[in-house]
C-alpha cells in the first residue's frame, strides 16, 4: 500500500479511534450476526457429516436391501440359499448392547466397501478379519464400559464410523449379541443375469429398493432448513446493527470525506479505500463471530443431537469439528453482509458534490417521501407473500412466504409507527406528553433499524412459540388418545406371541394385538398395521376426518384408516380408494393424526391383515387394566418375559414428552439469542444516537424540564416504542405461526397442526421485550441524567 493510501486510510480510521463505541457496535453486530449464522451452519455441517458416515457404514439410501416381509429377522440359511442361487448379497446384523448400537458386516462382500477405517495400508482387510477388533469413532469408543465388550476384543478408533455406532466383522458382532440370524442383506448393484427369483428362493423375503428407504439426509432436511432459516433471521438482525453503525459513521465523516476530496483524493480511490477499510474491519468482526459460532454450536449440539435422535432416530456426533465449509460460509456471509450494508453509503459518497455540507446531515430524519418509498416496497413484499400463499408449493415456498412477511412488515414499521405516534400525539392534551410523543415520533427514523430487528425477533418468537405450544397441546392430547392401553408387551419371536396373548387374555380387561409389516401403497413405502377393533379404539381415537360408521367399516375389513402423512403425500382423503400391494383396493374410512412419524401408515383390521399375510404374528400387545404393575407381574410369572419386554403407558408418555421437550430446546435457545441480539441492536442505536439527542433535548431542558425527568422520559420512550413494536409483532407473529403450522409443517413433516393462542405467553414475551428495551435505554438515560449543564449549554454556543 502506498504512503498516500496509508495516509488516507489513517484519516478514515481516525474516526473509529475517536468513536470507539461505534467501532464496538460495528464489530459486535457483525460478530453476533456471523456467530449465530456460522453456529447454525456448524451444527448442520456436523449433522450432515454424521449422515454421510452413516450412509457409508450402512449403505443407507445407496443400495437395495432384502428384509423379511413380516419385519422380522432373516435366517442364516436364507442368506446361504441366496448366495447359492447367484445373488450377490452381503449379510448385516445389528443390535444394541448396553445402550450402544452394534453393526456387523461381512467386509469382503459389502457393496461399496467399508468406510475408511484407517487400517494397516499394507493389509487393510487383515486387520478387520483376523483380529478381534471393533471400530468406533472416539466419542462412541469413550462410552464403552468394561462389560460391554469382552477383554479379548480390541476397540480401534476410526473417525469415519458413524456416531453412536460400533462396526465389526459379522461373526464377532453376532457372538456379542448372542445371535445367529441376520437383520438384512445388502444387494450389490451389479447382479448376475441368471439367478433365481427371490420369490422362489425365499418368498418370505422382499427387496426394498434404495429409493423406498427414508434416507436420513432427506428426512432431516426440513429440520436443518428450519435451523438455517433461524440462522439467517439472526444474521439479518445482526446486519441491521452493522447497517446502523456504518450509516452513522458515514454521516459523521461527511466532513472528512469532503476534505479528502477537496485535497485531491479521487472519488475512485476514496470509495476503494473506504471499502478496504470496512472489509478489513469486517474480517475482524467475522473472525470473532466464527469463534462465537463455534461456542454457540458446541453449546447447542448435544440438544440438536437429542432432537434428531428423538424425531428421526438419526445419530449425530455430540462433539464439534472445525470444518472448513461452515467457517468459510460464515466469513463469506459476513463480507457479503458488510457489502450490502455499505453499498448505498458508497453510492452516496460517489454522488456527493465536493462542496457538500460538512455538517452531519440529519441522517436520522426520514422524509415523508422515504416513508412512502418503504411502504411501497413493503407492499411489493406483502403482494409476493400473498402470491406465494395462494400459488406457492413446497417447503422453500413456505419459507419464502415467511421471509416476504417479515421483510414486508419490517419495511412498513417506520410508517406505521409514524401514523400511530402522530395519532397519540393529537389525542394528548398535556404539553409534556405532547412533546414526548412528538419527540418519540422524531426518534423513529434513527431507531428504525433496531426497531425492525426487535420486530423480527419478537414476531419470530411469537410465531415459533405458538407453533411449539400448539404442537405440545396437540401432542399431549394425541398421546392420551393413542396410548390408551395401560400396558404394552413386546414380543421377541412368533412362538411367544400365542402364549402372551393367552396369558394376557386371562389377566387383562381387554387385549389388543398389533400386527405390522412393511408394504407399499399409492406408489410409496408404508407401514401397514393390523389392529383388533375394540371399544378402546372406538372411544379414544379421534380422527382428523372420517366417513360414516368408520370403525364398523374397518372392523369388517371393508375400509382402512390412513395417517395424515400418507393422505397428504398421496393426495387422498376420506372415501378415496387405496390399493395396498397385493390386495384389493379399499376406501379410506378415516384420517388419523400421527405426529412424530415421518412414514406413511395404513391401519386395517386384524382379520384382514391375517388374510393378506397368513404367517403374521403380533409384534406387540396393548392391554387394558386397572393395575398395570399387577398385570405385569402376573404375565412375567406365567411367561418368564424379562421386564424390558413391558412398557408402562405412563413411562412411554413421559419418555415421548421428554423427547418432545428436548426437540424444541434448540429453537427456544435460538429464540432467546435472537431477542438478545435485537436488544443489543437497540442499545447500540440509542448509544450512537446519544450525541445527536443533546441538541434535541437542550431546548426542552432550558424550557424547564429537569434532566432527571428527561432521563425518565428517555426510558419511558424506549419502553413505549417496545410496546408499539410488540403490538405490531403480535399479528405478524401469529401470521408466521399460521404459515409454520399450515404450510411449513405440512410440507416438512406431512401433518397439519391446529393453531391455539396463548395470551399469557404473549404477554410474558411482551414484558420481556419491554424489559429488554428498558435495559437497552438504561445506560443512555443514566448518562443523560448525569449530563453536565455545561455540555447542554454548548448546544447554544456560537461555535459548536
Amino acid at each position: 500500500m502506498s504512503a498516500a493510501n496509508r495516509t488516507i486510510i489513517g484519516a478514515l480510521a481516525s474516526h473509529w479511534r475517536r468513536n470507539p463505541l461505534q467501532l464496538l457496535t460495528f464489530l459486535a453486530g457483525l460478530a453476533l450476526a456471523t456467530g449465530l449464522w456460522s453456529g447454525v451452519q456448524a451444527i448442520n455441517s456436523e449433522a450432515r457429516a454424521s449422515y454421510d458416515a452413516a450412509a457409508a457404514t450402512l449403505g443407507e439410501g445407496q443400495f437395495d436391501q432384502i428384509v423379511a416381509r413380516d419385519g422380522g429377522r432373516i435366517a442364516q440359511s436364507d442368506f446361504i440359499a441366496m448366495r447359492r442361487a447367484g445373488w450377490l448379497v452381503s449379510p448385516l446384523v445389528e443390535g444394541r448392547r448396553d445402550g450402544v448400537r452394534f453393526i456387523g458386516v461381512e467386509p469382503l462382500s459389502t457393496p461399496g466397501g467399508l468406510p475408511d477405517l484407517q487400517l494397516d495400508p499394507d493389509a487393510p482387510l487383515q486387520g478387520f478379519l483376523t483380529r478381534e477388533t471393533l471400530f468406533a469413532n472416539a466419542e462412541t469408543a469413550a462410552l464403552l464400559g468394561p462389560d460391554t465388550v469382552p477383554e479379548n476384543v480390541a476397540i480401534s478408533v476410526a473417525p469415519a464410523v458413524a456416531p453412536g455406532l460400533i462396526l465389526g466383522d459379522i461373526g464377532i458382532v453376532q457372538s456379542l449379541l448372542g445371535r445367529k440370524d441376520l437383520d438384512r442383506l445388502l444387494v450389490a448393484p451389479e447382479q448376475p443375469m441368471r439367478r433365481a427369483e427371490l420369490s422362489e428362493i425365499a418368498p418370505h423375503l422382499v427387496v426394498q429398493d434404495s429409493l423406498q428407504r427414508s434416507d436420513l439426509g432427506q428426512m432431516t432436511d426440513s429440520f436443518h432448513l428450519n435451523l438455517t432459516a433461524f440462522g439467517l433471521l439472526s444474521f439479518a438482525v445482526g446486519i441491521f446493527i452493522v447497517h446502523g453503525a456504518i450509516g452513522l459513521a458515514f454521516e459523521q465523516r461527511r466532513g472528512t470525506l469532503r476534505t479528502l476530496r477537496s485535497l485531491g483524493v479521487s472519488l475512485r480511490r476514496l470509495t476503494a479505500l473506504i471499502a478496504v477499510e470496512l472489509f478489513g474491519l469486517a474480517l475482524i468482526g467475522a473472525s470473532l463471530g466464527i469463534v462465537l459460532g463455534y461456542l454457540v454450536a458446541a453449546a447447542l449440539l448435544p440438544d440438536v443431537a437429542a432432537t434428531l435422535r428423538g424425531l428421526y432416530g438419526a445419530n449425530i456426533t455430540g462433539t464439534l469439528s472445525l470444518r472448513a465449509d461452515w467457517w468459510l460460509s460464515g466469513l463469506a456471509i459476513a463480507l457479503l453482509g458488510t457489502a450490502l450494508a455499505m453499498a448505498d453509503k458508497l453510492w452516496q459518497v460517489a454522488h456527493m458534490p465536493i462542496l457538500a455540507s460538512a455538517r452531519p446531515r440529519a441522517w436520522s430524519q426520514a422524509t415523508a417521501r422515504g416513508r412512502r418509498r418503504q411502504l411501497g416496497l413493503s407492499a411489493v413484499f406483502f403482494t409476493t407473500g400473498l402470491g406465494l400463499s395462494l400459488f406457492g408449493e413446497g417447503l422453500l415456498a413456505g419459507f419464502a412466504l415467511q421471509g416476504a412477511l417479515l421483510v414486508g412488515a419490517a419495511l412498513a414499521l417506520p410508517a406505521l409507527l409514524h401514523v400511530g405516534l402522530s395519532a397519540i400525539e393529537r389525542r394528548t392534551k398535556i404539553v409534556t406528553w405532547q412533546w414526548f410523543w412528538a419527540d418519540t415520533r422524531q426518534q423513529v427514523p434513527g431507531l428504525s433499524l433496531a426497531l425492525m430487528a426487535l420486530l423480527l425477533a419478537v414476531s419470530a418468537n411469537i410465531g415459533v412459540s405458538t407453533m411449539v405450544s400448539s404442537f405440545r397441546l396437540t401432542f399431549v392430547e394425541f398421546l392420551d388418545q393413542r396410548l390408551a392401553s395401560e400396558l404394552y408387551v413386546n414380543v421377541a419371536n412368533p412362538e411367544q406371541s400365542d402364549q402372551i396373548e393367552r396369558v394376557l387374555s386371562r389377566h387383562a380387561d381387554d387385549v389388543m394385538p398389533l400386527l405390522s409389516m412393511s408394504s407399499r401403497a399409492a406408489g410409496m413405502p408404508i407401514d401397514l398395521d393390523g389392529i383388533r377393533v375394540t371399544d378402546t379404539y372406538r372411544e379414544n381415537w379421534r380422527f382428523l376426518a372420517m366417513g360414516p360408521q368408520a370403525w364398523d367399516e374397518v372392523a369388517a375389513g371393508r375400509a382402512l384408516i390412513a395417517n395424515e402423512q400418507f393422505a397428504r403425500r398421496a393426495d387422498l382423503w376420506v372415501d378415496d380408494l387405496v390399493r395396498i400391494e397385493g390386495a384389493d383396493p379399499l376406501p379410506i374410512a378415516a384420517i388419523m393424526a400421527d405426529y412424530g412419524n415421518p412414514r406413511g401408515q395404513l391401519v386395517i383390521s386384524e382379520t384382514l391383515f391375517r388374510t393378506m399375510n397368513p404367517d403374521a404374528t403380533p409384534r406387540s400387545f396393548g392391554a387394558r387394566t386397572s393395575d398395570a404393575d399387577t398385570l405385569m407381574r402376573a404375565v412375567r410369572q406365567d411367561t418368564g418375559l424379562p421386564e424390558a419386554a413391558f412398557i408402562n403407558q405412563a413411562q412411554i408418555k413421559a419418555f415421548s414428552l421428554d423427547v418432545f421437550e428436548r426437540t424444541f430446546t434448540v429453537t427456544a435457545a435460538l429464540n432467546i439469542l435472537t431477542l438478545s441480539v435485537a436488544g443489543f441492536a437497540l442499545l447500540m442505536s440509542l448509544l450512537t444516537l446519544a450525541d445527536l439527542r443533546v441538541p434535541q433535548l437542550a431546548p426542552v431542558w432550558t424550557a424547564g424540564l429537569p434532566r432527571k425527568t428527561l432521563a425518565r422520559m428517555e426510558l419511558l420512550r424506549a419502553m413505549a416504542l417496545a410496546v408499539c413494536v410488540f403490538l405490531l409483532a403480535l399479528p405478524l407473529g401469529l401470521a408466521l405461526a399460521w404459515t409454520l403450522l399450515a404450510i411449513v409443517n405440512v410440507e416438512a413433516f406431512g401433518w397439519r397442526l391446529p393453531m391455539f393462542l396463548f395470551p399469557v405467553d404473549y404477554a410474558r414475551l411482551g414484558l420481556l421485550a419491554v424489559i429488554a428495551a428498558c435495559l437497552a435505554a438504561l445506560w443512555p438515560a443514566i448518562s443523560l441524567a448525569r449530563l453536565s449543564p455545561h455540555r447542554l449549554l454548548k448546544v447554544f454556543a456560537d461555535e459548536r
Partner: protein
C-alpha cells in the same frame, strides 16, 4: 428587583490550570429594565446569562430571581423557576424540531401552566406568525425561527427575558425588526430584559449598557 446577581464568580478548568471567567460580578434588574451586556468573545457574557437563567451554577455568589435564591435550590426547583419566571432566547433559535410552530410557542407557557390563548394569539399576530403555526421549524427561515423563539420565551409572560445574541444570525433589517418587537413586547409586559450582544447598534437600544472585561463589569 426581579433579578439580582451578587458577587458571582465562575472559573473553568483549562490546560494551564483553572481559568477565571467571572470575578465578583454584581448586577440587578428591575421590571421594565433593558440591559445590554457586551464584551469580547470568551469574556464570559454567555456564562453570566446562563448563570442568571439558572442553566449553569456559579462557583460563588448568589442569584436571586423574583425573590428566590437559585444557589440554594436543586435542579428540579431551578427548572421550575426557569419555566415560570425566566424566558431565554438563543442565537441558534433552538426550537424543538418535533413540534409545530404553535407547539413550540405554547410549550413553555403550558409547562408552567400559564397558557393564555388570547395572549398567544396576539403575540403570533404581532410577530407575523399566524400563517406559519402548523408548520415545523425546518420549514421556516432564520428570521421566522427567531420570532418563534421570541414568542416561545414571551408566551409564558416571564418576569425576566434573557437573550443571547438574539439577532446574531439575522440580516440587518430582520435583526432590527426582531429587536423592535422584543423591546416593545418586554415593555408591554413589564418584564426585565438582558441582552448579550456584540452589536453596538443593539446595545444602543437598551436603557442600560454594561461591558464585561477580565471577568468584571465595567
Amino acid at each position: 428587583m426581579v433579578l439580582t446577581l451578587t458577587s458571582i464568580a465562575k472559573a473553568y478548568p483549562g490546560a494551564d490550570g483553572v481559568i477565571p471567567v467571572l470575578v465578583g460580578v454584581d448586577l440587578s434588574l428591575e421590571p421594565g429594565d433593558t440591559l445590554a451586556l457586551t464584551g469580547e468573545s470568551g469574556s464570559g457574557k454567555s456564562t453570566l446569562l446562563h448563570i442568571a437563567a439558572g442553566l449553569e451554577m456559579a462557583d460563588e455568589g448568589d442569584v436571586i430571581v423574583d425573590g428566590q435564591n437559585l444557589t440554594a435550590t436543586d435542579d428540579t426547583a431551578r427548572a421550575a423557576i426557569r419555566r415560570g419566571t425566566v424566558g431565554v432566547v438563543f442565537q441558534q433559535f433552538n426550537l424543538i424540531p418535533s413540534l409545530t410552530v404553535l407547539g413550540n410557542i405554547t410549550f413553555q407557557a403550558r409547562l408552567a401552566d400559564k397558557e393564555d390563548r388570547s395572549f398567544t394569539q396576539q403575540l403570533c399576530e404581532r410577530l407575523g406568525l399566524k400563517s406559519q403555526l402548523e408548520k415545523y421549524p425546518e420549514a421556516l427561515s432564520g428570521g421566522q425561527q427567531q420570532r418563534v423563539a421570541l414568542a416561545r420565551a414571551l408566551a409564558a409572560r416571564p418576569k425576566v427575558l434573557l437573550a443571547d445574541e438574539p439577532t446574531g444570525n439575522l440580516d440587518e433589517s430582520t435583526a432590527a425588526e426582531v429587536l423592535a418587537l422584543m423591546l416593545s413586547l418586554v415593555e408591554e409586559n413589564d418584564a426585565a430584559l438582558m441582552v448579550v450582544t456584540h452589536s453596538e447598534k443593539v446595545a444602543q437600544h437598551m436603557s442600560r449598557h454594561v461591558h464585561l472585561r477580565g471577568g468584571k463589569l465595567i
